[in-house]
């Protein structure tokens, strides 16, 4: 089986300082990758570089296309969740899920279903009234609207209680079984079954 994403020799230099160097990994369908590093070690920069927001100094990022060929551009949609969760305060919980890129062309029932899965009850509440944990749940509900090939999640386990943590672990496992992969970052290794690299 071929990996969906293959990163070779990736380096990033910013204002004459090396952020990371010689990153190599492959992401196979259904497998996870965890990037471990302390604050300021360039985890977010690495994710952004892979997704094309930043041009890499050196190295190759290869994406698999439908014809089993590797390209330096992406032909499938990915899911990205940064530190800021992309939640609009002036939209309700339901609208925050409905009016996102992933939910393009989804019907109402699917969205209700996703919200139910993560345990969000008050779907007509404005997001500005929610707690940090609840906001995080909205962003987790977004994982479920569609099956993406690769999910890039920046620090999924920060600011979560035990219940939510085990829910995420459960969801990752479930999505893995459908062939989805996760690329996640963190300060220390999590419980998720994954290949780990540290930067």
């Amino acid at each position: 089986m071929l990996p969906n994403l293959k990163v070779e020799n990736l380096s990033c230099v910013r204002s004459n300082k090396v952020v990371f160097e010689n990153i190599n990994f492959e992401v196979f369908p259904g497998e996870n990758l965890e990037i471990i590093g302390s604050n300021g070690s360039g985890k977010t920069t690495l994710l952004r570089t892979i997704l094309g927001l930043i041009k890499p100094e050196k190295g190759i990022i290869n994406w698999l296309d439908e014809n089993d060929k590797f390209n330096d551009f992406r032909t499938f949609e990915c899911f990205y969740q940064g530190h800021q969760l992309g939640i609009k305060n002036l939209l309700t919980v339901y609208e925050n899920l409905q009016l996102t890129h992933g939910a393009k062309g989804m019907d109402e029932n699917k969205i209700y279903e996703c919200l139910e899965r993560v345990g969000l009850m008050h779907i007509n509440e404005l997001a500005s009234n929610l707690s940090v944990g609840q906001r995080k749940r909205i962003s987790i509900a977004r994982w479920l609207v569609k099956n993406f090939k690769i999910y890039f999640i920046d620090e999924p386990f920060s600011a979560l209680d035990d219940e939510a943590t085990s829910m995420i672990e459960h969801l990752i496992q479930e999505l893995n079984s459908k062939g989805c992969s996760f690329v996640i970052t963190g300060h220390r290794p999590s419980q998720v079954k994954a290949n780990r690299i540290s930067i």
């Binding site: 910013r14 204002s15 004459n16 041009k55």
Partner: protein
Amino acid sequence: MGSPPLFYNWSSKIIPWLGLLTLLVLLIGLYWGLFLAPMDYKQGDVYRIIYIHVPSAILGESIFIFMAICGFINVIWRAKISGMLLKAAAPIGMSFTLLVLVTGSVWGKPTWGTWWVWDARLTSTLILFFIYAALIGLHSTIEDKTKADRAVSILSIVGVAIIPVIKKSVDWWQTLHQPSTFTITSSPSMSPDMYIPLLVCLIGFYLFFAYMLTLNLRNVVIERESSKNWVKHVMDQESK
């Protein structure tokens, strides 16, 4: 000119010669224009300010085009050196534009009877000056200098659209300012005695720009690469 240390060494050799040549051409051009060229029958000696005014006007605009080309290269190919060139050229272009405005109003007082008129040509040169100011201002607000270069590159591409507006503005609003002195397509309306020293001055101004640009670029390169070993090496050598 690919690597910074190479450029630095190369420019150290070229600078004295370039400086000498600039001085020579400028002196010849200005002396010829200010003392030897015949007097204008309408304006008298006042017209001689064109030997500074016209070359700086051309420089002010062509430096902007130069910057936009550098900006374009920097945005498309991410060539860092073109970003540095842009940064080095901006203050020179701004100074020339200021010189145009000042010499223009000094010239305007005796010939038109006023320091400033809201004529299209003058106004668009003033806009060019503001755009230079905006570019330099934007550069100074961004701490990461490579990023600042790219931001200014983007803005300079937009700014270059203003140059045709300046050129066309004379035709759109027929007002006080006389038509362009230089045109490539038709023969000059001035007599050759006045025209040739002007050309010499123009070449002198261009050389002056090249000289200043090299000096500025050296400073920018040293500033950017200040943490590198070769800079420390060069600094040690020069302080000896």
